[in-house]
Assembly symmetry: C2
Homo-oligomer: 481 residues x 2
């Protein structure tokens, strides 16, 4: 695995990407020239040129880290991506497949045969095979299973038996477990015999004869403590470990809080089952925050930058259809009050403002609640205080924005009654918005559901309808006859 030696890594990657794209464009040009030539050696010539291209791409990419190759593949449109992948896949083990995003992985795997996939998998650890399992066709998976030994098969089965958001699905088996009745000398000899430690080994896990985790031995203690010392004396007993069925969110917070690099994963009996490492946790955090952002904007997380138009469209229609439905529903109210609008057409341009501002303030509240829920900062005791604070805030905001909007509409229409109605409607709608912005995430959380999903769309639907409704009702009561 090569990593970019002393260079700015982003610049380095951009240079690599541009070089690859230039190479691809030159190839496309050459290909079109070959196609134009009508010589009799046509097929042969074509095959030769093709081979040359592949070699050039292989040379270009041979020294790169698999994560960098993954980056380049992700940045290429589908057709070019396929060309590059076909040229280099024989040189690379499955690492590249692990590094690319789910959507891109699908495109890469779809063009590969069962045999090819099985060979790839033979270079991977069982936890890595588990990561790919969902995308590998059944027949290839059977081939892979047959190539594993019984311990590997049982590891694979263990990982696949946990949900994506559980620690068990994210762990690996690269832990070094040692018995507590050894001395450090023996441990050093053992490590020397191993020759190489798995990545992210900052500590060894100390277990008793029942494989129950008793402590951890930081690697550096092997260097700083006397070799004659017993493991049981040198180990740290005050350490963090995770239950195998724990939520990964919780584990991620603990990694951040306690600055962990690796930690043991245990079952209910405290027996060592696997290891959780900071690199998997970091990937998990990045993926889940990315996913949150995209889902909130109504883009499914498995849309890749160069997915086909058709696939992207299907991916986005669900969300757009829900939006059409809620937009229609909330504007039905306007129809009921048609005569009010006909009597005072200024309402048609003022009521969308009241509706929109409700959505904005409600979103501020719900976003703060969603974040605090994610941080675990809201509990039964402080939630009442929080609600009180947000409601006071809504009142203050409502007065402030209500007065501003009242003044603005007075400037526009010189109609005092209209200004008061619009200002009051704004105040009321902002109160409604904040209440809804509190209830939806807190309620979903209480029901055990993700507080972020769908909050924004439900909130907007309610604040829109209420905005229209409040303005039009107040107008009918106080402005028109």
């Amino acid at each position: 695995m090569d990593t970019p030696n002393p260079v700015d890594s982003t610049q380095f990657l951009q240079q690599q990407l541009e070089a690859v794209i230039k190479l691809l464009e030159r190839q496309e040009l050459e290909n079109s020239l070959v196609h134009k030539s009508t010589s009799s050696h046509h097929d042969l010539e074509e095959a030769l040129v093709e081979k040359q291209h592949q070699v050039r791409l292989q040379e270009r990419l041979s020294d790169l880290h698999s994560a960098d190759i993954a980056f380049i593949l992700e940045s290429l449109p589908l057709d070019q991506r396929q060309v590059v992948w076909n040229a280099i896949k024989a040189d690379h083990d499955g690492q590249v497949l692990l590094e690319v995003s789910d959507a891109v992985r699908e495109t890469l795997i779809s063009g590969m045969g069962d045999e090819e996939l099985a060979i790839f998998a033979s270079n991977l650890d069982t936890d890595e095979i588990a990561d790919l399992a969902a995308d590998i066709p059944k027949r290839a998976m059977l081939k892979i299973l047959r190539s594993l030994n019984s311990q590997e098969r049982s590891h694979l089965k263990t990982i696949l038996s946990y949900e994506d958001d559980q620690v068990g699905a994210l762990m690996d088996f690269g832990m070094i477990a040692i018995r507590d009745d050894l001395n450090l000398e023996a441990v050093i000899v053992y490590i020397r015999k191993l020759g190489k430690l798995p990545g992210h080994t900052d500590k060894l896990f100390v277990v008793d004869q029942h494989n129950v985790v008793k402590g951890v031995l930081p690697l550096q203690r092997l260097l700083t403590h006397s070799p004659a010392q017993q493991v049981a004396e040198a180990m740290v007993t005050d350490f963090v470990q995770f239950q195998i069925d724990e939520d990964t969110d919780v584990a991620a917070r603990a990694f951040e809080r306690y600055d962990l690099i690796s930690a043991p994963v245990v079952d209910e009996q405290g027996q060592l089952q696997g290891r959780l490492c900071v690199d998997s946790i970091m990937d998990f955090i990045r993926e889940s925050t990315d996913e949150d952002m995209l889902i909130q904007a109504g883009v499914g997380e498995n849309e890749d930058l160069f997915s086909s138009v058709w696939k992207s469209a299907k991916n986005r229609w669900g969300w757009l259809l829900i939006n059409v439905a809620t937009a229609f529903a909330s504007t039905r109210i306007i129809d009921v009050f048609q005569d009010t609008i006909l009597q005072l057409v200024a309402l048609a341009s003022l009521m969308p403002i009241v509706a929109a501002m409700g959505g904005n303030t409600g979103n501020q509240t719900s976003m703060l609640i969603i974040r605090s829920l994610a941080l675990g900062q809201i509990n039964a005791v402080n939630v009442r205080r929080l609600i009180k604070k947000e409601l006071s805030l809504a009142l203050l905001n409502g007065l402030f924005i209500g007065i501003i909007i009242g003044l603005l509409s007075w400037v526009l229409y010189y109609n005092l009654a209209l200004s008061i109605v619009i200002g009051s409607a704004m105040l009321i709608n902002l109160m409604v918005a904040v209440i809804v912005g509190l209830i939806i995430p807190l309620g979903r959380n209480k029901l055990g559901k993700d507080p972020a999903v769908g909050t924004s769309i439900m909130l907007t639907a309610i604040t829109d309808s209420m905005g229209f409704f409040i303005v039009l009702v107040l107008a009918r009561l106080f402005l028109v006859h």
Copy 2:
């Protein structure tokens, strides 16, 4: 530092938090009883009870990790937070201050004297003092500076000379640098003499006589390689290092990509300046994604869950005012077309739908672009393909949503001309939305600005006005006279 021994860490924290809150409530009750008693020993009694309370809180929290104490402080309302902090601050070094969020840190520091702060700082590393520097009053900072030695002062000055988003601001000085002409034996002796390595030391940095980084020596090689070997032979020369003025974003991506735990930070001459560790990077990622989410919802990142109502209000007004302004601006268009609406009042309830759907689709596009820009996946070569893809998608989406909305409005109003106008307006506005959703983030990025900031609000303003405008213009042209 204690960490929760074999327990579910979130459950553990919630239990601690609830215990502290119960303690506080009992204290409040007792206090009110003392206040009611009118005995002559009033003051003395009060002081005694107060002291008892402090001791109870100290006992409760004495074994906790500073990150856990930070969590509890963040979860408490202002008054209770102050009570707990006053009780325990004497027992704790500045670590707790480092762990809390910026907004909470402000509330804690504001109640502390210069002397107290200087004592706190004396237990911190220079990179940690630098983290606090922005919140510490000038006079206390001068006291702290005087207590540092000249190397520490120069370290502090170095860190403070970099922007928050540069590697130099995030690095620490806990690196162990060794010369390449030693052998491993000598390195092991050196480490044994040190006794303890700084946290996150997974590798030593190898430098030549000019302090230029030549390689890294993973700790595990000290265990697996022969002690007689030279450092220069045993070291890894293919490693990642960062320029001190590099963007932290870039460094964070490299940490994720290459699964780093620590990496050397160098100046232009390649001389070792400091060290970047995965824990700082993880905090950075969490903070910047949290910040992005809150800023997009119009909540400043430095709003704490229990900020005073007044402070929160000021924090949110800026955003709300901008929204009022854009909402007013986009609805001005409606006024111009008052007579059109009066002739066909159904337009009043249909045009907000066209406007809203524009915002939704535009946001889908811009969010995908923003994410891809952050990942560095968009460059001069593939941007044209991307634009073409998004435009084709917009056309497809526009036709689909346009037909649906046309059908729905036909069902409602049995007016074929109206349905065609609304459907076409939808198609056009979705095209506009996607173009704007492409232009704003790509344009801001080209100008060197953060593509995410303000994109959503500008986009909505444009798609709203265009939505109203297109519907009303088409209506005037084809529906009314």
